[in-house]
Symmetry: C2
Subunit: 224 residues, 2 copies
């Protein structure tokens, strides 16, 4: 079987499982997001700021993807008082729908409003594998540089939200915001974007409001 066919079959099977995950989430009235980023862009920090911002308003569960059996990130989420499931991809560079299905089995779905999936730190393959979540979110970070939309167009094309993290480092690095913005706009016009710093907390409010609004939209009974 040619390699291209094998890849198409794998992605097709993954898409079908992703659709099943979505049905299961919808049936449970859960809104779910897939957070992607380079290693070290601040995925876990954004999740911790989100937990803080949500307060008691919404019940959150977290699925943590890692390539090794370390629990650094899931321990932080558990310490923040949230149910977390760790997925060890066994060296694979992305999460897929099968892994999410197993993780959903371990979360108390009937007691959650929102699930945040933290994908493996990688700007390439996570973009190709649907998980069944409702929104794809990328965290870009200022010190990574302003050329990333040009170099990793695939991930930017499929986004619903872009978070630009580490805004506090802007005075200390070369980062042309206009060049970055033009790159994003060419791939994904009008993309919803939040610029923030998890270190100072500045700018986190609008992002937390966005996700609260989305979760309430998928739970008409919880709408304010």
């Amino acid at each position: 079987m040619p390699a291209v066919t094998v890849v198409e079959n794998i992605l097709g099977a993954n898409d079908r499982l992703a659709a099943e995950n979505r049905k299961r989430l919808d049936a449970a009235g859960i809104y779910a997001v897939n957070i992607m980023a380079s290693p070290g862009a601040g995925k876990t920090s954004v999740i911790l700021q989100t937990i803080k911002g949500l307060g008691e308003d919404l019940r959150l569960g977290v699925i943590e993807g890692d390539t090794a059996s370390v629990t650094i990130d899931s321990d932080k989420v558990l310490a923040a008082g949230m149910p977390a499931v760790q997925i060890n991809t066994g060296g694979a560079c992305h999460l897929d729908a099968v892994m999410i299905r197993s993780a959903l089995d371990e979360l108390p779905l009937d007691r959650l409003d929102l699930i945040i999936v933290e994908n493996v730190g990688n700007l390439v393959c996570p973009a190709a594998f649907k998980l069944g979540t409702h929104a794809n979110i990328l965290i870009a970070s200022i010190p990574e540089g302003d050329d990333k939309p040009y170099k990793y167009p695939g991930i930017y094309r499929g986004l619903d939200v872009l978070i630009i993290n580490k805004m506090d480092l802007l005075p200390h690095v070369r980062f042309d915001r206009e060049y970055f913005r033009r790159g994003v706009e060419a791939l994904n016009p009008g993309l919803t974007t939040f610029a923030l710093s998890c270190e100072t907390g500045e700018g986190c409010g609008p992002w937390v409001e966005w996700i609260k609004h989305r979760v309430r939209g998928s739970h008409p009974d919880r709408r304010e």
Copy 2:
């Protein structure tokens, strides 16, 4: 065929091609390094500092791996006066030995002493694919955080050299050098490490001396 067998066959075929690339490099008297890193850690900046540091001493060629058909990095290398070949991986998240074989066909091997391969920005899959180069080099960067050796152990285990870049950002971010060092030491004891800043140029000298020494070691006629 079970998926594991397919992966083993792919890696086995890659290893054989990598061995052929190595023979070809050795026959031409060329020392070659494989530079890996997260997106935005500074692979191209380190290459540009290396070009500057080498001056007229050694003849360098660069192979630039990118997932899309952008020439941002190879243009910078060409602008620095060096022969560069761009590899578009067509969306794949790593380089492999076949891609390097094609790139070697396009470089003037009889007129080079050193080849630097810039892998795709990714801490996972590049570690699994041998290219035929003589040394694996990882660029870690300060703003990525001090927990990366714990989260991406595979890539640290196979390294010959670690470069810690963006040392100028150390005063502006939380980075526990001792925690980072312990993580590296557990995976790769005694690993040769250079801490530097491509922004200020500080610390680049010892790295350039290391690579000069290595190249001369593989060219007895050029030894000082």
